[in-house]
């Protein structure tokens, strides 16, 4: 079975009447890194909370590695590790005791060797006897990850894992996630940092207003929705775009010194070579050129705006 998580028709309406999720269908493949993107209040955390058993779905079904999260909740939950969005930790307990507690909660016997490996991987080994209240915010964030990994989960949910952490720690976490993927752990992360999804994810899902807008391979998404830009620095400024080039999507800078060609990677007709030939035919000379392409963030913003 290639899919480790199967979400079918999951909806959630809270007692207040607010509908957080509207018939979500989603599958997550075994061993992949899946990024769930969406603005605040889109339903990301509700969806994760339902899969983890913290929130009850109003309708629909969720399977984790073949186990229904309602009828087979014990087996399903045993496979899942969750790093919550908030820094929710005990204050007075030691690092070692709190990760031991989590392992026990998941029904596993004590394994000092495994816990040492996890704490070392997260640079917390030296702090193992420290009270949690003495840790910095970044260390607490790592501790939450250590707790989620204490019971050797096969699926790891990271809900905004790098919110409020410094750049170094963010990169450390990215490396950790890559290592986990190497060990066969499926990682589902929600994030506001598109850079994070772009860096790590194999596939990307965009959720907005409780609806899953799309799910694509990251590379496909960039290719499908991404716009490339070829900018030419002109030897002589133009007053306007020449008639011979009117069929092409072009932008001329205010001073007429830069001509930018916007093209879509899906459309073979818009090849860069062909465009440059037409430029030369039109007698336009340029001194420099450069290309840029849309980031995942541009695509995300564009998709969300389209839906609003």
């Amino acid at each position: 079975m290639n899919d480790i998580i199967e979400i079918s028709g999951v909806s959630k309406t809270y007692a207040s009447g607010f509908t957080a999720l509207k018939g979500i269908d989603l599958t997550v493949r075994r061993g992949e890194i899946f990024a769930l993107l969406g603005p605040n209040g889109a339903g990301k955390t509700t969806l994760i909370s339902i899969v983890c058993g913290i929130v009850r779905a109003s309708s629909g079904r969720v399977m984790v590695d073949g186990h229904d999260i309602v009828s087979g909740w014990r087996k399903a939950r045993a496979l899942i590790g969750l790093v919550p969005q908030e820094l929710t930790t005990d204050a007075f307990e030691s690092v070692w005791n709190t990760v031991s507690f989590t392992r026990g909660l998941f029904g596993l016997r004590a394994s000092p060797a495994h816990l040492e490996k996890v704490l070392r991987a997260l640079s917390l080994w030296d702090k193992r006897n420290s009270r949690i209240m003495t840790l910095s915010g970044g260390m607490k964030r790592r501790l939450l990850i250590a707790k989620a990994l204490a019971h050797e989960p096969r699926v790891l949910f990271l809900d905004e894992p790098t919110a409020g952490v410094d750049v170094d720690l963010r990169h450390d976490m990215w490396q950790l996630v890559s290592r986990l993927r190497g060990e066969g752990v499926t990682v589902i992360l929600t994030t506001h940092y598109i850079e994070e999804a772009e860096e790590m994810a194999d596939r990307v899902g965009v959720i907005n207003n409780g609806e899953l807008v799309l799910v694509r391979e990251k590379a496909d998404l960039l290719r499908e929705f991404g716009t490339k830009r070829l900018s030419l620095r002109l030897r002589r400024p133009l007053a306007e775009v020449p008639e011979a080039l009117s069929a092409w999507r072009l932008e001329l800078s205010g001073d007429g010194g830069e001509l930018t060609y916007l093209y879509d990677a899906r459309d073979a007709r818009d090849g860069v070579g062909g465009f440059l030939d037409r430029v030369r035919d039109a007698g336009i000379e340029f001194t420099d050129l450069g290309t840029t392409e849309s980031s995942l963030e541009d695509i995300f913003v564009s998709l969300v705006r389209q839906r609003q």
Binding site: Y14, A15, C52, G53, I54, V55, R56, W73, R74, K75, R77, A78, I80, L82, P84, E86, T88, T89, D90, A91, F92, E93, N97, S100, F101, T102, R103, G104, L105, F106, G107, L108, R109, K147
Partner: protein
């Protein structure tokens, strides 16, 4: 049954008790000693005996119950409320742990602490007055049953409370008055008739009476009734806890 999880919750809660030993053990022991000084030595010298038992000895079961009820509720309510307050409850709710296992861990630890406290108070009392255990097995049974029952009550309060103030409301405004009025320091037979009848509506009367019977063989109400009432409290508490988990009340949305 996820025994490892029950053990993890139990150990975690017992570790918390060790960290707060002053609050959990020392404070009730000092309070109890003060009760002995005030009621046993000062007032007790003016009351010869109650039902043939010296007044100092007579109040021991009531004092144990007073601390047992308060601490069982306090330990269990704080134990489950604190994770809700800090948000760490997500860990319990997302773990492969059943409601029964969660209750066994939290209420079991709270009851254990209360029973240990009861034993310490008895030892402390033994320093002031002579003690007799006419029915030691029943004494332990009443002690454990009451500790478990009121730990469940504490668990319910810990789920119900949405602030630290509410955690204190039930123990301070309901349980402590009922314990004082339930015959901790006197036999309800010492009350005038109308008040004796009113006192029988106080459920704590049955707990203290049965517990005192196990010490000295004297009781305000029949011991069978005391035992039945204790069982009823336990059953009601279990039913409410079951309802909480079935509906997800204050735990799951």
């Amino acid at each position: 049954m996820n025994l490892e999880a029950i053990g993890a919750i139990y150990r975690y809660e017992m570790a918390r008790a060790r960290r707060t030993v002053t609050q959990t053990i020392v404070s009730p022991v000092i309070s109890t000693s003060l009760y002995f000084v005030v009621f046993g030595a000062a007032l007790g010298s003016r009351i010869q005996s109650v039902g043939g038992v010296g007044y100092g000895s007579f109040i021991v079961p009531g004092l144990v119950m007073l601390s047992l009820l308060g601490q069982s509720i306090s330990n269990a309510s704080f134990g489950i409320y604190f994770p809700r307050f800090t948000g760490t409850i997500y860990e319990i709710l997302s773990a492969p742990v059943s409601p029964v296992e969660i209750v066994l861990g939290y209420a079991g630890a709270a009851a254990t602490k209360s029973v240990i406290l009861g034993a310490i108070i008895l030892l402390t009392a033994g320093l002031f007055v002579p003690l007799h255990f006419l029915h030691p097995v029943w004494m332990v049974a009443f002690l454990v049953l009451t500790a478990v029952t009121f730990s469940l009550v504490g668990f319910i309060i810990g789920i119900w409370a949405d602030g630290f103030e509410k955690l204190q409301i039930v123990p301070l405004l309901i349980v402590t008055p009922l314990t004082f009025l339930g015959g901790s320091f006197y036999s309800i037979n010492m009350l005038p008739r109308p008040w004796r009848t009113v006192a029988l509506f106080d459920p704590v009367v049955y707990l203290i009476s049965g517990f005192r019977w196990s010490f000295y063989g004297i009781a305000d109400v029949n011991v069978g009734v005391s035992l039945a009432m204790t069982a009823v409290f336990l059953a009601v508490s279990l039913a409410i806890v079951w309802w909480i988990f079935r509906t997800g009340y204050r735990l799951k949305t």
